[in-house]
């Protein structure tokens, strides 16, 4: 179903959403950055913005995520799951990030399903905003995750000027617009055509550069990346882990108990496969002691045929965050390019 909402109508819609859910949207942060934050009023929501550097992944998979409460009871311990099923609306999320959340949910729903994750994500409605003018670092066309989405959203908005086109992609999406049906009217043929044109124009922004994932994937999946290349690239990585922490599709974690009120809260913490101690074993042995081994592992997970078959997409949504947060220079486009060419800084 495709509807249209007038620009002035958006505030009323948001007010309605705020009655029942927490609404999280990009806002201007205290130091000028665009950040995702819970809003108090519709006026806070930004409509023309660069995508926040910290992805909305934090709302489906927080950096510190309490999952189990452990209490002492005499000689025994009682274990109780902690669920966070508060209704939330992620509003004005960019296409790449909406796709990232789809990726994470698909992964966590695989057997054995992650109940803690799913309880939270099932109560999150994603309202994405299509990118009429893509961001300079983005390469979402290469990963089929933008600038416009054809699936994976609950609601997709497109800025048509006076109006927004409202594409509803799920039951959660229907619920999100149901309370204020009078604000929405069915979109006209002209408006649908306009959306199509906008998408074509947006895609043209990416120029003639073609997607390199395919050739990189062939090389990675068949072990045709020279060890010397990994060796060389790994010296340009400073092991900050930012490429994984800021990645909308990365979900690796560690577990740690937090002592509170005589008991413990078992938490899931973001972790990074790029940290030396990530695969450190209790014996002291580390199967991926060298940084190049860890890099190799990361890109195998991101762009090998094996994982592509499992996840239905590469482990990248082309948001370009790793380009911005990388302390070194080993971000996704740079490494994929190097693998394709077989050369690094030459």
């Amino acid at each position: 179903m495709v509807f249209t909402i007038q620009r002035q109508g958006i505030s009323k819609w948001l007010e309605k959403l705020l009655e029942t859910s927490a609404v999280i949207a990009p806002v201007r942060g205290p130091s000028g950055d665009v950040v995702f934050s819970t809003i108090r009023s519709p006026a806070q929501v930004l409509w023309d913005f660069g995508n926040p550097l910290h992805p909305p992944k934090q709302f489906v998979l927080p950096q510190t995520d309490p999952i189990v409460a452990i209490k002492r009871n005499g000689q025994r311990h009682e274990v109780e799951p902690i669920h966070d099923d508060a209704p939330r609306i992620l509003f004005n999320v960019r296409s790449c990030d909406a796709k990232g959340i789809t990726f994470l949910t698909r992964m966590h729903a695989m057997e054995p399903a992650d109940a803690s994750y799913l309880r939270r994500s099932n109560n999150i409605t994603v309202v994405s905003l299509a990118c009429n003018s893509p961001c300079p670092q983005g390469f979402c066309v290469c990963t089929d995750s933008g600038p416009f989405l054809s699936s994976g959203y609950d609601v997709q908005l497109t800025d048509l000027g006076e109006n927004y086109l409202v594409e509803v992609g799920s039951e959660k999406g229907e619920a999100a617009i149901s309370g204020v049906a009078d604000l929405f009217r069915t979109a006209t043929e002209g408006e649908l055509a306009q959306r199509k044109d906008l998408e074509i124009t947006a895609r043209r922004h990416f120029g003639k550069e073609t997607c390199h994932f395919a050739s990189a994937m062939r090389r990675i999946s068949t072990g045709r990346v020279r060890d010397a290349l990994w060796d060389k690239m790994s010296d340009w990585c400073l092991e900050c882990g930012a490429c994984t922490l800021a990645c909308p599709t990365c979900y690796c974690f560690s577990v740690k108990d937090l002592a509170r009120d005589g008991g413990w809260i078992r938490c899931r913490l973001w972790d990074s496969c790029q940290h030396a101690a990530f695969t450190l074993e209790a014996s002291g042995h580390n199967p991926r002691e060298q940084r190049k081994e860890r890099m190799k592992r990361r890109f195998f997970h991101k762009a090998s045929a094996q994982y592509y078959m499992r996840d239905g997409m590469v482990g990248c949504v082309g948001c370009g965050r790793c380009v911005k947060v990388c302390l070194g220079t080993t971000n996704m486009p740079a490494v994929v390019g190097a693998i394709r060419k077989g050369k690094w800084h030459e």
Partner: protein, 637 residues
């Protein structure tokens, strides 16, 4: 959930990010693209900055020792006891002192300095890390009249030449290493000086190999090469200054190599060059001389006059510069002014309403060994000082030991009174980065239990010692700092205006050059052909912000578990020659004494070098004596 902007509490690069909290509890960190230093790029430590305050063993209420056991007490009880005992010690003529901290804010350090000088009337005030960064600052100051850096971190990115005195920059200051990497991507030349093949060395265009303690000889060679090739900048203020001829004469016999000439070309011809210096090791005064030699190199090539060019001392801890600037040093007053500078003394006497003490003060190591009463602010001397665990023994003998800390450290456990203060995530305050940027911390959550902001506790102590401590907020303390140290004028409201704010310490452009040639003494002998050197100048593994962080502590903890007796590292050739393999025991002997330690064989070391990680320095304390380096004989044990 609203992100709170704050400054990174780890190293002295001065990065900024947002702390995220939910339901009054820290949950994460978000990068900021608009932060002028970090520009959205954080290292592993920055990304985990919220962890220690959340997971750490926090000091939540005042503790007081009764019948040799530490037990809970009220704030009034604890403070009364501190004031009573310190006053008693002062009245009976016993020495007392205060240790500030590079982990504490400017406000806390300033009040520590004020409490010591105006309250206790003593110059017995210092901070443990000072002994490691002092030689760097002193060397720079000796040559150029300024200890402050003449370059900003991000200037490195646009440099054509970078000279790095390597101390494993990628690990100690990842954000600075990031700037170097960006510069390399743009085609800059990286010259490294060091004795291990670190990541930065592997990336360098030219590596000048040296032995520990011999860095000065390489620097001499570089200065001599500049002079011989006529690459000195004749328009520079340093040209023809005092000592220029003496320098020329003194270096007439310096050993030069082809590589040094190449490096000299790159340095001399660069429009913009960065000179980064990690603390070096050496006996006696050598580290200071090394710093002076590097400053000389920068001075004669004119790079101290050019915008975007200059020296950057690599200080390990976030507020080391701030602690110096607040006068947390026995011989320096706020503003890092010499303690006998009459103008500064006069200014402080007016401001504090007290006559300043005129007796010499003691440095951190001596304080631990000789005072009867000591207040330690947010630090754990055994984990910071080069003397290691010997500090713990020394502290055990102190008659009255008071510790203010957010975390339970080994020092807290042996204190007579422990006062809980807020961690960096819970207090207002400022930090001064190594490049001189004064930036604010953002209080994101409430301090746990009864903990109070450190500046409040110190202000209360000031009041109790009849010194003005009537501050309504941390801003009031900042206002006073600006009066006490005029170069901090303008930093009172570092958040003013839009964006991240942050203000610069007013560094004077006035540089008074004084050059001299230095000599490097040979260390090894036929009898003791190896050089044992301490590697690094800081042990992050024992810093509470790392040791209490689940993500960051793993590496350090596993090393300590695997090597409970520590280890020293030698290269493969030496290992083969001496019949030593990883895990085997070796006996090291020097003129000071000997020790038996496990060996770890490395492939990226030079023959003749034996390294002991800073974390394991205690295991070879007998061999090193009081130095960071010693000639040793290595044999199978």
């Amino acid at each position: 959930m609203s992100p709170v902007p704050t400054t990174c509490p780890f190293c002295a690069c001065g990065c900024g990010f947002y702390l995220l909290a939910s339901k009054g509890q820290l949950i994460g960190v978000a990068p900021s693209e608009s932060h002028p230093v970090s520009r959205g790029r954080l290292c592993a430590r920055g990304w985990s900055a919220h962890e220690a305050a959340l997971w750490g063993d926090r000091l939540k209420q005042p503790l007081l020792q009764r019948d040799s056991k530490l037990g809970p007490a009220s704030w009034i009880e604890a403070l009364d006891h501190v004031v009573g005992r310190i006053r008693e010690l002062i009245d009976t003529g016993k020495p007392v002192g205060i240790l500030g901290s590079p982990r504490a804010t400017n406000e806390e350090n300033y009040l520590a300095s004020k409490l010591a000088r105006a309250g206790f009337r003593t110059n017995n005030v210092d901070f443990c890390f000072h002994s490691l960064c002092r030689p760097l600052l002193a060397g720079f100051e000796e040559v150029s009249g300024q200890y402050s850096p003449s370059i900003h971190l991000n200037d490195i990115e646009s440099s054509q030449t970078i000279l790095l005195m390597e101390g494993d920059l990628a690990k100690t200051h990842p954000r600075a290493a990031s700037c170097v990497i960006r510069a390399l991507e743009r085609g800059a030349h990286l010259i490294t000086i060091g004795y291990t093949r670190t990541q930065m060395v592997r990336l360098s265009a030219l590596h000048l190999q040296t032995a520990p303690g011999n860095e000065g000889a390489v620097l001499n060679g570089l200065v001599a090469s500049i002079l011989q090739l006529g690459l000195e900048d004749r328009t520079s203020a340093a040209f023809d200054c005092e000592g220029y001829d003496a320098l020329r004469r003194g270096l007439a016999t310096a050993r030069m190599t082809e590589e040094m000439h190449q490096a000299a070309e790159w340095i001399g011809r660069a429009k913009q060059a960065a000179f980064l210096m990690a603390p070096t090791s050496g006996q006696g005064d050598q580290p200071r001389k090394d710093a002076a030699a590097l400053a000389t190199l920068a001075a004669i090539t004119g790079h101290l006059d050019k915008p975007g060019s200059g020296l950057l001392p690599l200080l390990a801890r976030s507020n080391a510069r701030g602690a110096c600037d607040m006068g947390v040093a026995p011989d320096r007053l706020p503003g890092y002014e010499p303690w006998d500078d009459w103008r500064c003394r006069h200014r402080l006497q007016e401001l504090w309403g007290r006559k300043l003490p005129s007796a010499f003060g003691l440095d951190a190591e001596s304080l631990l060994q000789s005072v009867s009463g000591l207040i330690i602010l947010a630090d754990d001397p055994p984990s910071v000082l080069a003397m290691g665990q010997r500090a713990l023994a020394a502290m055990g003998k102190i008659e009255f030991l008071v510790v203010l800390d957010a975390f339970v450290t080994p020092t807290v456990k042996i204190s007579h009174v422990a006062l809980p203060i807020a961690s960096f995530a819970e207090t207002d305050g400022t930090l001064t980065s190594m490049e001189g940027r004064v930036q604010r911390l953002g209080a994101t959550t409430d301090p746990p239990g009864e903990a109070r902001p450190g500046w409040q506790v110190l202000a209360e102590l000031c009041t109790r010692f009849q010194v003005d401590g009537s501050y309504g907020s941390a801003s009031d303390v900042r206002r006073e700092i600006a009066q006490a140290a005029p170069r901090y004028a303008g930093t009172e409201q570092p958040e003013s205006g839009d964006g991240w704010g942050g203000t610069w310490v007013e560094d004077s452009d006035q540089r008074n050059f004084r050059l001299s040639a230095m000599r490097v003494a040979a260390l090894t002998s036929a009898e003791r052909p190896h050089v044992l050197a301490r590697e690094g100048a800081y042990d992050w593994g024992r810093d509470p912000l790392v040791s209490y962080s689940p993500s960051l502590s793993r590496d350090y903890q596993s090393q300590r578990k695997l090597f409970p007796d520590g280890f020293v590292e030698i290269c493969k050739q030496d290992g083969d020659r001496l019949g030593l393999r990883t895990g085997w025991q070796a006996r090291l002997s020097s003129v000071h004494g000997d020790a038996v330690v496990p060996i770890r064989v490395r492939t990226d070391l030079e023959p003749g070098v034996v390294l002991v990680p800073y974390a394991f320095r205690d295991h070879v304390a007998n061999v090193l004596g009081t130095h960071s380096i010693a000639a040793v004989k290595v044999e199978q044990a």
